[in-house]
Amino acid sequence: MTKQHGNRRLLLVVLAFVTLLVLAASIRYGAIDFPLSEISRAFASILPGHSEPTLDQRIFLELRLPRAILCLLVGASLGVGGTLMQALFRNPIVEPGLVGTSSGAAFGSALFFVLGSVLHISTSVWSLPFAACFGGVVSTYLVFLLARSKEQGRASIVMLLLTGLAVNALFMSAIGFLSYIARDPQARSITFWSLGTLSGANWKAVTIVTTSTIIGTLIALYYSKQLNALMIGEEEATYLGVNVNRLKWIILTVNVVIVAVATAFTGVISFVGLVVPHILRMVGGADNRFLIVGSALTGATLLTLADLMARLVVRPAELPIGILTSAVGVPIFILLLRRRQYVF
């Protein structure tokens, strides 16, 4: 084992520890602060033989706790999604939000909420994430189809970003239209879908996002070696025994599913997937096995911090979390763009 491997392992342990600390802060502070004694009493109340939870304890168990956990999972999904996109396109400035996945997923969810209630479509727990995935798949493949250049059959990065911009605008306006024609109470406000918020968290959402995040991350980890080989080019990866086309489809699908399912419950949260892998690469190098685990932890930590801020800055009200992630992410994105000329 080389020095680098040891450092990476240590880094991941530290990251996991920080994630737990931030999670603890996230369940402790917010519109209402829960002292530790209150938290432990709330946990005790679910055990058999204890008294019914008080109102505060129920707020903790039914709102605060699922929100904190959902936030971790969504952050992890977005971080892993960003790592996968960047590995796939061999480019450090791609992220799920930029290539239409998030806005498409938000559109799919909005369509489900509006049409689902009008047409009385039978709704199982999985209908919403399915609708989100559908929207995410449609928009992502639309972007790649339109961005594909005629000569090379490969998407140039400039075309990709510009097409992403256009498709994002299209789906955002479609969401705007849906929220315009929809009536309360079935229509959520447009800010929810376009700016992102975790205020809708519940245990059902946690269950679904846990499933997609864990399965998606495990599949990604399984392919991390092949993704590494892709770093030296598609032809070279083929020579190393990688079926590049198959890998692309699998990874793109995993990415769309984890990001779309997360987006279904939180709206569009941009730039987490862009910033997280970048920070990790600076401290630990570009090995994808490290990046996938690391970006799950870092994404979870950063989004939880952002959510904590969103709850504390204007409390007892709260900011949409997407505003915070964009405010931090956009300057970093511009910095990355300016530092290198991305001509592909």
Binding site: T2, R90, K225, A229, I232, L240, N243, A286
Partner: protein, 266 residues
Amino acid sequence: MRLMLTATNLTFRVGNKALVSDVSLSFAPGKLHLIIGPNGAGKSTLIKILARLLRPQVGMVSYDDVDVSQASETELAKRRAVLSQAVEVAFPLSAREVVMMGRYPHFGGRPGPADEKIVDDVMAQFDVTEFTDRNYQTLSGGERQRVNFARVLAQLWRDSTSDLNSSGRYLFLDEPLTFLDIRHQIEFMNTIKEMAAQPDVVTVGVVHDLNLAARFADHIVILNQARLVASGTPPDVLTEERIQEIFGVKPTFVGSEESGMHIIFS
């Protein structure tokens, strides 16, 4: 089973244009086979077909008398490697990580002690041990190519105790000297020559420089306009009329005992 690379009636078209047209060749182990020809002759395409990156519309490539079109990606990668022109890495990887990629087809999850040792050995052999933790992106063209050659060697590594009769190893060179200066070109050709001399290795390459080909090749293949023009030893195929006809320049041959044939163009 013969350790032999055979290509039978290869034709590869893009649209209506044939990039390789009805080429049949065989390449024996232990020798250095070099393909030459003017730009657009189909040299790189032919190498890519032989390495199974491209699938021909007509014809068949076989390694050890077995059709490669059905071989699994991983099985093929254990005994076929390609040294390309210039490998660009999109992210900051250390030179050692790049060399370790050569072992990817050989291990599942993580590299074992044997893989680590092979990587150390080939890095020492190519004099790139000092770059172990250096970012590949910061290396010069010659340094990068040494790292890549180490990677390719790690991929085809077979220790001396293993059974030489098991199966052939196939090394392809796709203009690997293009971005190197003359000293590195000669150093590289010597290393390639050494590798190619092993009795279980079939080595086929594309080079631009006729003099390098004349000096180092055991067997030269000349392509022109997608077709096979000549195949044989350097003195047999590199004739004045043929070079003038294919490359459009008039050659003058200057022979010397120790360095072999030299061609001067006027």
